[in-house]
Symmetry: C2
Subunit: 412 residues, 2 copies
């Protein structure tokens, strides 16, 4: 009998009525002959309510105690969903993270799963029950309650699917799958039937916030087939798996973008070993995460060093760079917080030449100036002025014919 792990997020369990509908979906899956383990998040709004209570007590709540209060959110949902299943004649048992020994490290508020004891769940499945597990939470070796950080319920679901050797891990969200790009920007955007873990990771980290990155890494590591689908609509969603040999790959699966970028450049830096770390060291020390990094050699034996950060860190990063530039005797520091990043993602890119040039040509035809370029094995990212975001994404979506059924562009 197939074993399916299903995960329902906060908007899918927002009210008792929503929970009733989730119960019906679970029962339908059982009706199709599958064993089901369900992972649920807190009802939407609940985590924020609990955080507000904690912050009414103190500005800086103790991380251990914050996990104790936050874990109640999912505990409420598991009980309600189990009741809803039972009320519909479907045997069910709920479990907190601690009860099924979702063992984590002791990093409160951002713990990582180390082990799961599958025995209790398997026993319940064998007894004909649906097992409902609280997402987002675990327990450390000392028995302290831990949480996995925002979006951690996805990780719980994937980890359970791996531990139980489930046939599929289904992530129910408020979208019906992963799209070639954001349909709000490109109305012709098309749902992707399949995607590889690597592509999903690039899509997720570049701003397509469908799945938590960590859960995709986890799925990739344990080779758990992952399916993103809608709680509110019927449909097959998007299946995310390892790349299969001989599978005909589209060159480009999708276009991701990120509006939250800012760009900083140190101009005329003496071109010496160790310069990059002298520039980025103080930035890292300030807890600022760096995204793209580009370095060009200029003509006069100096170099221009450019990187991007989250827009909220722009002002702080700029101030740090002024000091660094003085020390390095760099010519100038410049920056721009009105930029965006657009990325083409696709495993097919590996075996096809000319993707980048085709991308640049498409942008040039629209008069869009490229400010930065960065490439990896399965993506090409460009930084452009913020005002060109929609135009650029639409031009690329069109150039690579992503809106067409099948999405396979003609020739190269």
């Amino acid at each position: 009998m197939a074993l399916i792990v299903q995960k329902y997020g906060g908007t899918s369990v927002a009210t008792p009525e929503h929970i009733g509908r989730v119960a019906e979906k679970v029962i339908a899956t059982r009706g199709a002959g599958c064993d089901v383990v369900v992972v649920v998040s807190a009802m939407s709004g609940e985590t924020n309510r609990l955080l507000a209570l904690a912050h009414a007590i103190t500005d800086r709540p103790d991380p251990r105690e914050l996990d104790v209060i936050l874990a109640t959110g999912e505990q409420v949902t598991i009980a309600l969903l189990s009741m809803a299943l039972q009320a519909r004649g479907c045997p069910a048992h709920s479990y907190t993270g601690a009860q099924v020994h979702i063992l984590t490290d002791s990093m409160h508020n951002k713990a990582r799963i180390m082990d799961i004891d599958a025995a209790r769940i398997q026993h319940d499945l064998a007894a004909g029950r649906v097992v409902v597990v609280a997402g987002f939470q675990g327990v450390d070796e000392q028995g302290n309650i831990t949480t996995l950080g925002r979006g951690g319920s996805d990780t719980t679901a994937v980890a359970l699917a791996a531990a139980l050797k489930a046939d599929e891990c289904q992530i129910y969200t408020d979208v019906d799958g992963v799209y070639t790009t954001d349909p709000r920007v490109v109305p012709e955007a098309r749902r992707l039937a399949r995607l590889t873990y690597e592509e999903m990771l690039e899509m997720a980290s570049l701003g397509a916030k469908v799945l938590q990155i960590r859960s995709v890494e986890f799925a990739s590591k344990y080779n758990v087939p992952l399916r993103v689908l809608s709680s509110f609509e019927e449909g097959a969603g998007t299946l995310i798996t390892a790349e299969e040999e001989g599978m005909e790959q589209a060159q480009i699966s999708g276009i991701a973008f990120n509006r939250d970028e800012a760009k900083l450049t140190v101009l005329g830096v003496p071109d010496q070993p160790g310069v990059a770390s002298r520039i980025l060291g103080p930035i890292a020390d300030a807890g600022i995460e760096v995204d793209m990094i580009v370095q060009n050699v200029a003509e006069d034996a100096t170099t221009d060093f450019t990187f991007t950060v989250h827009r909220r860190d722009y002002t702080q990063a700029l101030a740090i760079l002024q000091d660094v530039a003085r020390e390095l005797q760099a010519r100038e520091v410049s920056g721009d917080d009105r930029i965006v990043k657009i990325s083409l993602v696709g495993v097919g890119m590996r075996s096809h030449a000319g993707i980048a040039s085709r991308m640049f040509r498409a942008l040039a035809e629209e008069g869009i100036n490229i400010r930065m370029i960065s490439t990896s094995e399965i993506k090409v990212s460009v930084v452009v002025d913020e005002k060109y975001l929609e135009l650029g994404v639409r031009a690329l979506h069109d150039a690579f014919e992503l809106g067409r059924s099948g999405g396979q562009p003609e020739g190269e």
Copy 2:
């Protein structure tokens, strides 16, 4: 170093501000040189909110799952109180019932505590921490979450005090102690400095709803000194202990009363063995609890059999009795749901004659007709018409001089 277990109920932790004040009380106790273990209830209103959620899912929530959702109420409070203590520089750790192994039987919604593992708490106390434990909840041998039923937090506190061999278990409520009677009825009612477990049990079961009966039984069994005091006012409260040899006992400690009674009589029952059980059997089978039972032998070899039930069960009990009376060939069934019970309680009663007659005289002087009488070792209860409740309680409070400092009546 003295060890104090303190329990704060729902109204004492109703808001983050209340919780801050509880933290300050706990810190003051530590400042006086005591180790402190704190037991808390759910914030007032929270348990009802959770119940409403469950009932929005189904009319008859599964008992196991109901415990899972209800247990979150106290879990929120322990986290908030620990945060509040830490924010004030006082080291603290919170624990759910499961985390400190408050082992119960598996009777969901009304579980009984079987064992507590004190080691983890003692370790934290030795490390200089305040330990904050969720009241009302435990865990059964299979690891399922259980709850102890309404008011169960008192029982948790007493059980912890017993397991830890605490010097005192302090129950903080919204009243400043146990009174000679309800001050709303008798403004001169006086707070009792001390009371025995037996007296408290009689007072509690007779309607003085200060402490949960089970917690008093537990305290009595393990000889845990119990103190009832106010969260909102200073004061020594009421200390409840075993009766001490040579302790000068007031004859009467207090006057309890119960407005929720109804009285039923089967008149002219043939006076044969087994009649009582033939009358009360069907009542018990219907799940109706019987309080007082009185049987008089009448002149014609028949008997009148009278008992009281909760007023809400009156109509049902009356219908049952009509059938029973027919079977027994009893003369008549009568009843009255406009009666109340007034009880004098006091361990001193055991060694003093004449309490009952003095009671009856005091009532007679006010023209109050006594409808039923029942006595036990430390109490005398009478049933009177509802309209005489306040008059009767005041007359007795006066007659036994309970309002006077010391409360010891002159001679007998």
